[in-house]
Symmetry: C2
Amino acid sequence: MKILGIDPGYERLGVAVIEKPIQGKEVVLFSDCIRTSSKSKMADRLFEIGQALSLVIKKHKPDAVAIEELYFAKNTRTAMTVAEARGVIQYICKEQGLEVFEYHPNTIKIAITGYGGAKKEDIAFMIPKLVVYDGSKKLDDELDAIAIAITHLSTYRPTIE
Amino acid sequence: MKILGIDPGYERLGVAVIEKPIQGKEVVLFSDCIRTSSKSKMADRLFEIGQALSLVIKKHKPDAVAIEELYFAKNTRTAMTVAEARGVIQYICKEQGLEVFEYHPNTIKIAITGYGGAKKEDIAFMIPKLVVYDGSKKLDDELDAIAIAITHLSTYRPTIE
């Protein structure tokens, strides 16, 4: 069971592929932070994100995708443009035949730390204890993507087994 | 010169292809309202929109795309999900090699009626006077898509001629 976790964004998009073995801890097979230039037009940035995500899916062949839920708290240009990126992400995942699961930020925090009010550093502290990876330094966006994938693996129960 | 005008949405997406002849009024070659079911998941609706839009582009081969600018006035679920649809639209247009031009709602109103405070019915009243079409009844979403395409044709001046 391989899950692609995505931390949506248009400037930095965190992606991580996590595998659940029969026994033992989940393993991070891949993680990256896809970046686009602020000098590019929004349509070009969205296109770059979609193309890069397509490549990740084709290479790692995940079984499903987990993504952070649409965020309604602030009506800023950033929130709206992150929503544009989320649209592209969902389109690409469906195009590749993948089901998309969405998780509320609090669900992710609880899955990782046991506490819905956890901070970024609490997540960063817990991740190395929950999954196996090469020990390389990860960016926040990658850690968030890993956290989202872990959340899916630890909370999702298929209705038909 | 063929322009694809798009009125962004995820429930109803207005599309119109307008051609500018050497002389005379612009002609509406095609218009439609792409709909998705509220029973479908958002990712599926976004995928349907993207696929339907791809088909329109492949069939009508426009030279460029004009779309209404991202709307920041309200922070509702609708506004955020329309932004998701906008993301898909921009991705598909770039995938098909088309440049995407964005117009503010007021710019569109001024281009069609000469007045930035124009109402929906003012736009609907003016469109048959500005473009040639088969006279069939058009939905609001189609009229908006036609209005956006007209705006591009009447305001865009390429920097290199």
